[in-house]
Structure formats: structure tokens, C-alpha cells
């Protein structure tokens, strides 16, 4: 029941807001926030009750649930979590109340509709991460499109209609293929949609793999399916961008971990060179394009393309460490990029511009803003001690040492880390340093509400950076299981445990060195 | 006489009807061509029925004749109503609906 409550509580909030919208804007906000926080608090119990020894899905009856839904076609209401989905569920329940607070005063029209969309979106996303029935999964996967469509389309920027339609059509084209794949699996799975019983060989495995993979690759988005993302991000309202980058994109990578890899290991291995090439192109391309973006939001959007390239690289490495890193990196990216979008949104509310050239010298007038921005920027770059480092490091290390592909891919991908430092710090320098003009000088610093939005994220940025084992341990068993399923290459020597990684000084040195170079660059300008 | 002659005749009548519908532009003439098609079917029914030695086909013809009569009544009424508005029943000129 616990998990069902977490999933459907936000939907209850939607109904409550629909019924009580007459009470005024404040009531609507507080209801939404209350529901959001309550969902988060309840979802923490998913973590405390989590049994790390359990390899597959949690068997605890509080979490695992299976009820007949449409017996006529063998679909059931079947939910549960494992170490991978746990973190994505928590990420979702964590980011939603933050988004509600972030949107507190920034929604001008249709506030109740906004909050309803946000909460409905939360239910959809949680459902995707928890569904253990392909039919249920697809229902959540598709239904989450509608609130997102409204969020971007109604509360978005000027070209919102173009962006929202592009977003929906891209996703729908992908899910159309996935639907065919799901139906084909259904008949090979004894007329059942049950994910837990899916195993063995599916024919034609390459085509089925692609049917699923393309749908997820569009969502990730993997180069060259990424073109919807910058449009959607730029036009979406701040909160929409946070959810989009924080959670929605993870649905793509989650789908890869949950379906593409364990169900079609051979097809996955067959396409690995192609996919990894695309991922590396995405890493470098995203970074290069981010570097020349004049628009802050577009910059962050393209940095997402680059970061998620790392995640895909790690997922296809057939190496446990790298896969674990990828899963952690999903959460990291959700936190750092989410925070970046929030910060960009806050500065946009003050300056009504997102163009980097319009800014300069903010650090003097807005010290709190600048500090937080710096921390988040460093986290996004992957500074040791912050969350981004752990994930990226594990991905690169794991796929370098035990990856199923040439080491050159990893070397090329590592340049992405350097490029990330370049574009992020260069952006930071242009926005924060220098002498402020009159308008920039008059901008007020962050209000307590805004700090309250950001502080919880900062907490986790540090926590994951310093004590990643809290997060890595629960997912270890699930990742191992996936690794065992996908491993078609001969066993390679396992890499040391994660908590020993600090000992690998070489790579750390490279990173800190890069950082130093960039800081020097920044200072010299 | 063998069945096929009747069927060939009915097929010819039917084809003439189809061509008439496709070629002629006057609504009344189109309507007459449709009647011709129905009667071609009637001819086929009667001939087949006779050939099989069952009464079913003969019976159907009565139904079809009744239906055709009803169709004519309704059809002419509608065509008259169109004529009242447009002063023409050329189907190419009655074309206000398109998109």
C-alpha cells in the first residue's frame, strides 16, 4: 500500500485542488505544497524499509503490490521498486515540493491548473518508475505527456507552442514504436504484461531492442534525437525545466536499464559500438554547443545532452561500477541541473533576460546567489567532494577498466569533462565577475523562500559527494543483477569498491588540474 | 437459356449504370443510373433464383423494388430542395462544401 499511496497521493491532490480551487490562490498553493511534502515524507519510508540484501524487486508487501486490473488481456496493477527505481522515486518526490515552492509567486494565470499539472505529472513519473507491468508502464509513460504538454504550452515562453508540439510528437513517435515492441513481448511472455516474468530470448531481438531503445533514446535524449530538448527547455517555465531535466529525461535512461539491457543483452551488445559512438558524440557535441550558447538556459540544456551522454556510455559498458555510476549520475544530474535551472529562473525573474551578455558582476551585489551558483556549477562540472564527481568518475573508471568497448571512447568522453569545466566556468565568469552595469547592480539578492528552495538540493549535492555509499549501497544488488544479465563479454577483473576510489589519484589529478587551468583562464580574463 | 447470358446482361446494365453515375452531371440522371444499377441486380437475382430453383431470389426483388421506390421518393424530394436554393442540379455547380 505504501508505494501506491506515494504514487497516487499527488493525484488525490489534483482532485483536491480541482474541488477547492474556489478557496483562492493561497489555499491552492498550500494544498499543493502540503501534498508534495507529504508525498516526500511518506516516500522516505521506502528508503528506511529498503532491504539491501534483496536482489530483485522488494518483496515487502508494503511496497510490492499486484492486483488484477484487466484480466481480459492479462494486464495487472503491479508495482514495486528495486535499488535503481528507489532513487528515481525519491528524486521525483524530492524535486516536486521544491518546484512547488519555486513556482510560489511566479505563476500569473491559472495557478490551480499549474499546480494540478505539476502534481499529475508527479503521479505519472512515479508510476513509470514503479510499474512492473508493461501495460501499466505504458499508461503512465504516455499519460505523463499531457501535464507536461500543458506546463510548457500554457506557462511557457514565446515559442512555447512550437516547443510543446515538437516535444509531444517526438515522444509519441518513440512510444508508438515501443507500443509495438510491448505487444510483441506480450505474446512471447505467455500473454502477460508482467515485467518480472520477462526473460529469455525474444525474437526478433534486434528489432525489439531498437523499438524500445529509440523510444528511450528520444527521451534521454541521445544524439541525434536531442533536438526537441533545447526548444522544450528554453520555452518551458522554470519549474517545467527542472522537472524535465530532473526527472523526465531519467525516464529514458531508466527505461534502458530496466528493459533494453536485461531483456535483450545480445542485441544491446550488438548495437553497443553504435550507441556508444552516439553517446560520445553527444557528450562532445553537447559540450561544444553549450560553449557558444548566448542563452543561459540553452547552455544548461545542452549541458544536459552532454551529461546524459555519460550516463548512456556507462550503461552500455557492461561493467557494474560504470552502471552504478550511471544510475547515481541520473540522480546527480537531476539535482545539479535542476538547481541550475532554478537559479537561472531566479535571475530571469529579476533581470527578465537570460542572455549571458546582459549580465556581469552579479557576484558583488548578490553574494548568496553567487555562492550557491558556484557550488552548483562545480557540482555540474564534477568537482571532487561534490556529487557530480562520484558519478562521472565511476562511469569513466568502470568503462575504461572493464568496458565492453574500446578505451578510446572513454578517453574521448573524458574530454567532455574538460569541456564541461570550460563552458560552465566561462559562463560563471561572464555572469558573475566584472563590473555590474546599472541594472545588474540594482538586482536584489535571493529571498529566504528562494534559499529554502535551494538549500535542500545543496545538502544532497554535498551528501552524495562526501558519503556516496549511503546512495550506492541500496542499488548495489540490483545493479549487480543487471550486470550479470548484460555481461556477454568475458569477465574482467572487478574494480575496487566505490569507497576506495579516492585512491585512484591519477584521474583525480587530471580533473583538478583541468579545474585549475580553467580557473586561471577565468581569472586572466 | 443458360444462366450466364442473363448474368452478362445484368453486368452490362450495371456497368452502364456505374459509368452513367461517374460521367453524367445532372443529379436526376445520376439517380436514374443508380436505379439502373439496382435493376441490374434485380435481373441477376431473378435469373439466379430461376436457375437454382428456389424462390428466395424472386422474393428479394420485391424488397429491392420497395426500397428503390422509397429511395426515389426521398431522393427527388432532396433534389427539389437543392434546386430551390440553387436553381441548378448540376452536381459540379453544387459545391459550396469543401475544405
Amino acid at each position: 500500500m505504501l508505494l501506491s499511496i506515494v504514487i497516487f497521493l499527488p493525484l488525490l491532490g489534483v482532485i483536491a485542488i480541482a474541488l477547492l480551487r474556489g478557496l483562492g490562490a493561497n489555499a491552492v498553493k498550500w494544498i499543493a505544497l502540503g501534498i508534495g511534502l507529504l508525498t516526500f515524507v511518506i516516500s522516505i519510508r521506502l528508503y528506511t524499509e529498503f532491504d539491501t540484501a534483496n536482489v530483485g524487486f522488494q518483496t515487502n508487501s508494503e511496497v510490492y503490490q499486484k492486483l488484477d486490473w484487466i484480466p481480459g488481456i492479462g494486464a495487472s496493477y503491479h508495482i514495486g521498486i528495486d535499488g535503481i527505481s528507489l532513487w528515481l522515486v525519491l528524486l521525483t518526490t524530492f524535486l516536486t515540493p521544491i518546484c512547488i515552492i519555486a513556482a510560489w509567486n511566479s505563476v500569473e494565470k491559472g495557478l490551480s491548473g499549474f499546480m494540478m499539472s505539476l502534481l499529475a505529472l508527479e503521479t505519472g513519473m512515479l508510476g513509470v518508475f514503479c510499474a512492473l507491468d508493461l501495460f501499466l508502464f505504458f499508461v503512465f509513460w504516455e499519460s505523463m505527456l499531457i501535464p507536461m504538454y500543458f506546463l510548457i504550452g500554457i506557462w511557457g515562453g514565446e515559442r512555447r507552442i512550437y516547443a510543446t508540439i515538437k516535444f509531444v510528437l517526438y515522444t509519441m513517435a518513440g512510444s508508438a514504436l515501443m507500443l509495438v515492441g510491448i505487444l510483441a513481448l506480450y505474446f512471447q511472455n505467455n500473454n502477460s504484461f508482467d515485467i518480472t516474468t520477462l526473460q529469455g530470448q525474444f525474437e526478433p531481438s534486434n528489432l525489439l531492442f531498437l523499438a524500445f531503445f529509440i523510444a528511450f533514446a528520444i527521451k534521454v535524449p541521445l544524439f541525434p534525437f536531442h533536438t526537441w530538448l533545447p526548444d522544450a527547455h528554453v520555452e518551458a517555465p522554470t519549474v517545467g525545466s527542472v522537472i524535465l531535466a530532473g526527472v523526465l529525461l531519467k525516464m529514458g535512461t531508466y527505461g534502458i536499464v530496466r528493459f533494453c539491457l536485461p531483456l535483450f543483452p545480445e542485441a544491446a551488445a550488438h548495437y553497443t559500438p553504435l550507441i556508444v559512438t552516439l553517446a560520445v558524440i553527444g557528450i562532445i557535441y553537447g559540450a561544444l554547443v553549450a560553449m557558444v550558447q548566448p542563452d543561459l538556459k540553452k547552455l544548461v540544456a545542452y549541458s544536459s545532452v552532454s551529461h546524459l551522454g555519460f550516463v548512456v556510455l556507462g550503461l552500455f559498458s557492461q561493467n557494474g561500477t560504470a552502471i552504478q555510476g550511471s544510475v547515481l549520475q541520473m540522480v546527480n544530474h537531476g539535482l545539479s541541473t535542476g538547481a541550475l535551472f532554478l537559479l537561472v529562473g531566479m535571475i530571469y525573474e529579476r533581470r527578465h533576460s537570460r542572455m549571458i551578455v546582459d549580465f556581469g558582476g552579479l557576484a558583488k551585489k548578490m553574494p548568496i546567489f553567487a555562492t550557491i551558483f558556484l557550488i552548483v556549477t562545480l557540482s555540474s562540472i564534477g568537482l571532487p567532494g561534490l556529487n557530480g564527481f562520484v558519478g562521472e568518475f565511476m562511469i569513466l573508471l568502470g568503462s575504461y577498466v572493464g568496458g565492453a568497448f574500446s578505451k578510446w571512447y572513454v578517453v574521448l568522453a573524458t574530454t567532455g569533462v574538460i569541456l564541461a569545466a570550460v563552458y560552465m566556468l566561462w559562463m560563471f565568469q561572464r555572469v558573475m565577475f566584472g563590473t555590474p552595469d546599472d541594472i545588474n547592480a540594482s538586482l536584489p539578492d535571493l529571498k529566504p523562500r528562494e534559499i529554502a528552495v535551494l538549500l535542500p538540493i545543496l545538502l544532497f549535492i554535498f551528501w552524495i559527494g562526501v558519503g556516496p555509499n549511503t546512495f550506492l549501497e541500496p542499488m548495489a544488488a540490483s545493479v549487480k543483477e543487471i550486470e550479470a544479465k548484460v555481461r556477454v563479454i568475458p569477465e574482467t577483473p572487478a574494480v575496487g569498491q566505490v569507497n576506495q576510489m579516492d585512491t585512484d589519484d591519477a584521474v583525480v589529478d587530471v580533473k583538478t588540474a583541468t579545474l585549475k587551468i580553467n580557473e586561471e583562464e577565468a581569472l586572466s580574463k | 437459356m443458360a444462366l450466364q447470358y442473363y448474368l452478362i446482361l445484368s453486368a452490362l446494365l450495371f456497368t452502364i449504370g456505374v459509368i452513367g453515375v461517374l460521367v453524367r452531371r445532372n443529379a436526376i440522371i445520376i439517380f436514374m443510373c443508380i436505379e439502373l444499377m439496382l435493376n441490374a441486380a434485380n435481373l441477376a437475382f431473378v435469373a439466379i433464383s430461376r436457375n437454382l430453383g428456389t424462390a428466395e431470389g424472386q422474393l428479394f426483388v420485391f424488397f429491392v423494388m420497395a426500397v428503390a421506390a422509397a429511395e426515389v421518393a426521398i431522393g427527388l424530394a432532396i433534389i427539389v430542395s437543392v434546386f430551390k436554393h440553387r436553381e441548378t442540379i448540376n452536381v459540379d455547380e453544387v459545391n459550396s462544401l469543401k475544405g
Partner: protein
Amino acid sequence: MPLEIPDINWSLLMPQLVIVSTLLIVLVFDMFDAISKKTLGWMTIVGAGIALWSSIDLLQAGTDQTQFNEMFRIDSYSLFFNIIFLVSTILVALVSISYLGSGDKKQGPYYLLILLATLGMMLMAAGNELIIVFLGLELMSLSLYVLASYFRESPASSEAGMKYLLLGAFASAFFLYGIALVYGAAGTTNIPEIISKLSVGDQLSLLSESPLFLAGIFLLIVGFGFKVAIVPFHQWAPDVYEGAPTTIAAFISAGPKAAGFAAFLTIFVDALPKLPTQATGVIVLLAMLTMTVGNVIAIAQTNIKRMLAYSSIAHAGYVMIGLAAANPDGKSSAMLYLFIYCVMNIGAFGVVIMARTADGENLMISDYAGLGFRKPLLAMFMTLMLLSLAGFPPTAGFVGKLYVFKSAVEARHYWLVIFGAINTAISAFYYLRVVVTMYMREPEEELEFKPYPPTLVIGLVLAAIGILLIGILPSLLLDQAQSAVQSALL
């Protein structure tokens, strides 16, 4: 020859008898000026409601019998279709009551014709004999020709009526000639007998390759193709929908299409596996063409009624997928889809009727700009109907599509399903465009909308509840459709 009068079990004919008596009552009461014309609408609703109730009753009793020397079949298949027709009729009547206004003298014949058309549909679904199907088809079509041209003072309505009449009668002639040829080849017009003659034991019989028979089958496909508006026999549909009174457009798009498919499915789902494979190929090709052409042309439409017309063409294509699958699941999925389609399409037309100003209806999609915040109820209904038409979960449209696709995958028509799935994505584009217009664009001029008529709101609420309920708990309907097909197999 001694005349045998077959035993007739009148209780099995309850739904049809109720409709006949209702239409007689409507006919008589129409003569009294003292009776408000709205009452006639309510009589129609009550009559159709009783017929609906008795259909459900018979369905639950598991009735499976034939009447009138096996010409008329009362089994769960025909009863399920009765439910589709009667639900459509009730919804259309609810929507019509306010649409026609109470002062209009001509309402008696209007409801009379709707009931006659409903009776014709019920005959089509229950027909066990091609000639009964033909009579039902004609009864329905003749009523609809009149209804389409019902607004005599409107040139558009008359024109719609004429186009519908000419093409409809043309199609009927094809259909009839097809029956004649099938009769000539098979020696009977009884549908189960024809199908059983197609095979001898496990082998296909000579009949299945007889040119006369195949020509007849081809003509039947053409005739049905016109009636249910599949590409390339669809040209009449947009013109008729645009010109006809909107309530009638809703009616034509729903019940008659379902009725056409009811007969189509009866004949073809069982016959297709016994025909040369080219026949299945033709159906698959028609399904692909219908979906694609319908959806692609719908994108270009600016008039909402025409858009819905092309969308309903595309939906016929989805039903054809179930037909092409030609397995029990295909049949029940097509039935389920038709039910869902009828409810959501009438709902969409209902919202078009709801958006009325003093000048009449607002038919251009651009007129809907800004309704999302100024007319939240209307916009909400429209959004729900369109999302369902586009096949988003958790609406009924999604369940329908998924089930249709599933049956086709089972029959290994993978390409057909991929086509259908891609078409779903295309269709989302134009459905969502209306939603975009409502919520995301500012209106060019402030339009004064008339207040919502209560009966219309009741109709839409019922449709909306139906769509959501079936979307969330599909078993309610799915089990019925499946058992309807299962019982026919036993």
C-alpha cells in the same frame, strides 16, 4: 405448399419492438400541437433507454438464438452492437433537444427518423441473412439522407443531403449487386451457410476461388467501404459532416459507422481466413490507406467539423485493423473500439454544439482561441474528448487502440500495427492543435457564447464519465466484448 408460420419468441425482440413502439408514439404525439416538442425528444430518450435496458438484460442472460427462419440473430454479438447504437441514440437525442429549440414545429419527424435509423442499424447487426442486412442498411440510410438535409432553409444542409443520397445510393447498388453475385455463386444468402460452404473439412472449397463469388465479395467491400467511409470511398464524409446539422453529423459519424462495421465484421472476420490471401491483403491495404489519408488530410483542416470528419475516417482505419486481424480478438477489439469511438466522437461534436454564439456555431478552429480560461468547462470537455480520440491514457481511446493493435500483433500484421502506431502520433498533432488553440492562444475577438443548455451538459458529462471509466477500468466493457465473440465461437 403449406405455409409454415415460424414460432416467434417476442421477448427476444424486445429492443426492436420497443424502438418501433416508441417511434409510433412519437409519430402520433407529434400531431398534437399542445405537446411541447421537447417532450418528443425525451420520449425518444426513454424509449431508447428501455431498449438499452432490455438489450443489456438479454445480453446478461446469455441469449443466443435465431428468429424468423434463421434470418435474424439475437446473440451477444448483435446485442452488444444494440448497446452501441442505443447509447449513441440516447446521447444524440440529449444533445439534440436543446439544439433544435422548443419552438420548432419540425421536431417530430426528426426524432422519428432517428429512431427509424436506429432500428435499421439494429437490423443490420442482427441480420443473419444478407438481404436483412441490406434492408437494415437501406432503412438506416434513407432516414439519414433525410436527416442530413433536415435544415431545408440551409443550402449547405440540402447540399449535404444530396451528396449523401447520391453516393449512398450508389454504394447501396454496389452492395446489392454484390449480394446478387454471392447468392449466384453460393446459392444462398444466409451468412453462416455461405461461410461454411467456403471450406470442406480443413480444405478450402471451390467456392472460395470462384470468380463470381470473389467479384461479389469485392463489390460487398466497395459497398461497405462507402457506408463506413474508408479510403478511397470516403469523399462524401467531410462534405456531409460539414453541411448536415451538427447533431446529425455526430449521429452519422457514430451509429451508422458502427452498424456498417457490424455487418462488415459478421461477414468478413469469419470469411477472411477462408478466402485467398489477397483478400486479407486488400483489407490491410485499405486499413493503412484509410488511417494515413484520414489523418494527413485532417492536419490541413481549419473547420472543426471537417477535421472531425477526417478524423472519423482515420478511426474507421483503426477498426479495419481489428478486421484485418481476422481472429476472435480482432473482432472483439473492433467492437470495443466502435463503442468507445461512438461515445467520444459524439462527445466531440457535442462540444462543437456547445460553442454557440448568437450568430450560430463557431466552426473554425481559430474561434476556439482562449476558451481554456474563459470557458473552462467547455474546454475541459473538448480536451478530454480530443485526448481520447488521440488515444492518450487514461482515456478510453487508449484502451481501444491498444486492444486493436494487440489483436493485429497476434495475427502477425506487424507493419499494420507500426503504421497504426505512427498514425496515432500524427493524429495527436491535429487533435492537440485544437487544445493548443484553446489554452495557449489569445482570442482575436471576444465572442459572446450562449449559455450551456442543461441537456447538452448532461450528455457531455455522461460521455466524459464513460470515457474515463472505460479508460481506467477497461474490464467493464472488454469482458462483454470478449464474451460476445467467445459465445459466437462455441
